[in-house]
Amino acid sequence: MSVRILIPPTLRKLCGGEEIIRVRPGTVREAIGQLNSQFNGIRDRLCDQRGQVRGSVLVYVNDEEIRFLDNQNTRLKAGDEVSLIPAFAGG
């Protein structure tokens, strides 16, 4: 079983229109690396020049944002789901 990454509409053009991409278990950083080797340039969309996830992007592993976990070192196991979401506006 693999890890499912839900691709937001903003990035689908870059990902050949795919809504879900499957990657191997590992860390969030490795998952972004796997995505980038399939779809060149996606890392730069998600991360800044220092390699940190941009402040305007939220990365959820199942129900928790990675800044409440171990950031990009957060472990992903088979069956986990990763969502990439633009930061939220007020309500």
Binding site: L58, F88, A89
Partner: protein
């Protein structure tokens, strides 16, 4: 097709431009998109005289609001009172204090009617029939009411534990109200996923560039109502931080257009201690915030991952403003203080603003010889749950003069004749 005075959507991070469609994020860096205007053309038409000749609503500044034609939703929204608060000023120890009172904004008693009338007017222009939002309550009320008046279908998504007043205030308009077992950040995450799948106008997701601009009208009104002046200090409650950045933008735009003189201004942000990602970053001298899990009675400000937190911190730094936060008890005290001194009943967010203003004045961030405006964004009748057990109770007597005089003798010994 005419675009009015709008030029394009522009990424706030990299400056790339996009068509004026229902989209909110830059494809290259996830930066928020903002509306860019043709200020040269606006300068030719938007004068003090032109504004003063128009009806008293937020739409008197329409050239600086992002719709192509005339507004079709919420034409009566805005132009709420700017109240000179002398009694509160005296209590807090500041020379001049004003309350910008959006607790009486039309139609749903919060500043959200401003952003919603813009977002829905633009949604109609773009051909949408269904509108939606993720909300901490006030936005849901406003989308529900304004959509009903415009004949649009509405889906509103709210955390399951909102105040009853805010839930009923959405249901009554016939909106589809969906409670989510989670806090606002989780509601918003779900809505981002729904918005990616269904062709709806989510006012604070894909319509956000237009929606957010509506907040500027609160700042435009403050300046006009102060006699075309910018206040020394403005205290703004922060949930996502968007309102604070847009008040700042309204001061920049009016001074750029020559409608006001660019006297120095400081913008201060107010949060609840139970959800203070932005104020704690400011107090620690950081340019970025750490997300938090909200736990506060100020539910309308309970956003743990504020989208505009970074930009709000930037505005406070640029203008020399500061930020503070207040506990639940201090929030209730703030509500009572505003009510007892000025006769204005604000919701919990208003208690946050008053409580934080009190701290900023005591700390000297707002000096006693200056003028300050407090932005009150919602009505206390919607958050009765927060104060119901903290205001005392009415005293019961029989319809008897003797019983009343017994009560009065207790309150004011010596007043009642023996």
């Amino acid at each position: 097709m005419s675009q009015g005075y709008m030029k394009a959507l522009k990424c706030r991070e990299c400056g790339r431009e996009y068509d004026l469609a229902a989209t909110h994020v830059c494809e290259f860096d996830f930066g928020p998109l903002e509306v860019a205007y043709d200020y040269d053309r606006i300068k030719g038409v938007l004068t003090r005289e032109a504004i003063a000749s128009r009806p008293q609503s937020m739409w008197r500044y329409r050239e600086l609001l992002p719709i192509a034609g005339e507004p079709t939703v919420g034409r009566q929204v805005g132009f709420t009172p700017l109240v000179k608060a002398d009694r509160l000023a005296k209590r807090l120890g500041v020379r001049e204090l004003w309350i910008k009172n959006d607790a009486v904004n039309f139609p749903t008693l919060s500043f959200k009617d401003r952003v919603v009338s813009v977002a829905l007017s633009r949604s109609v222009e773009l051909g949408f029939k269904t509108v939606a939002c993720a909300s901490t309550g006030n936005l849901a009320n406003s989308v529900a009411a304004n959509a009903a008046a415009a004949g649009l279908e509405a889906y509103v998504f709210i955390p399951h534990d909102l105040e009853q007043g805010k839930v009923v205030n959405s249901l009554v308009y016939g909106a589809n109200v969906v409670g989510i077992r989670g806090h606002y950040d989780e509601v918003n995450r779900l809505c981002a996923e729904i918005a990616g799948k269904y062709e709806w106008a989510f006012v604070n997701v894909n319509m956000r560039p237009y929606y957010a601009e509506g907040s500027k009208s609160m700042g435009f009104e403050i300046q006009e109502q102060l006699g075309w002046q910018i206040p020394d200090h403005t205290v703004v409650p922060m949930a996502s931080g968007s309102l604070l950045t847009k008040i700042h933008k309204s001061y920049q735009e009016f001074s750029k257009l020559g409608l006001t003189t660019a006297t120095p201004w400081k913008i201060h942000g107010a949060q609840a201690t139970g959800c203070n990602p932005i104020s704690s970053a400011k107090k620690a001298g950081l340019d970025f915030f750490k997300p938090v899990k909200p736990n506060t009675i100020a539910k309308s400000l309970a956003i743990g991952t504020p989208a505009d937190g970074f930009y709000a911190l930037k505005v406070m730094k640029e203008t020399g403003g500061y930020s503070e936060d207040v506990t639940d008890d201090e929030i209730r005290e703030g509500i009572r203080l505003l009510a007892e001194t000025e006769g204005i009943f604000a919701e919990t967010a208003g208690g946050v603003t008053v409580g934080v203003a009190k701290k900023l004045i005591a700390q000297g961030h707002i000096t006693s010889d200056s003028s300050a405006v407090l932005c009150i964004t919602g009505n206390g009748l919607k958050t009765l749950d927060a104060v119901v057990d903290h205001c005392g109770a009415s005293r019961l007597i029989k319809p008897s003069l003797r019983e009343f005089e017994a009560l009065l003798a207790h309150d004011k010994p010596g007043l009642v004749a023996a």
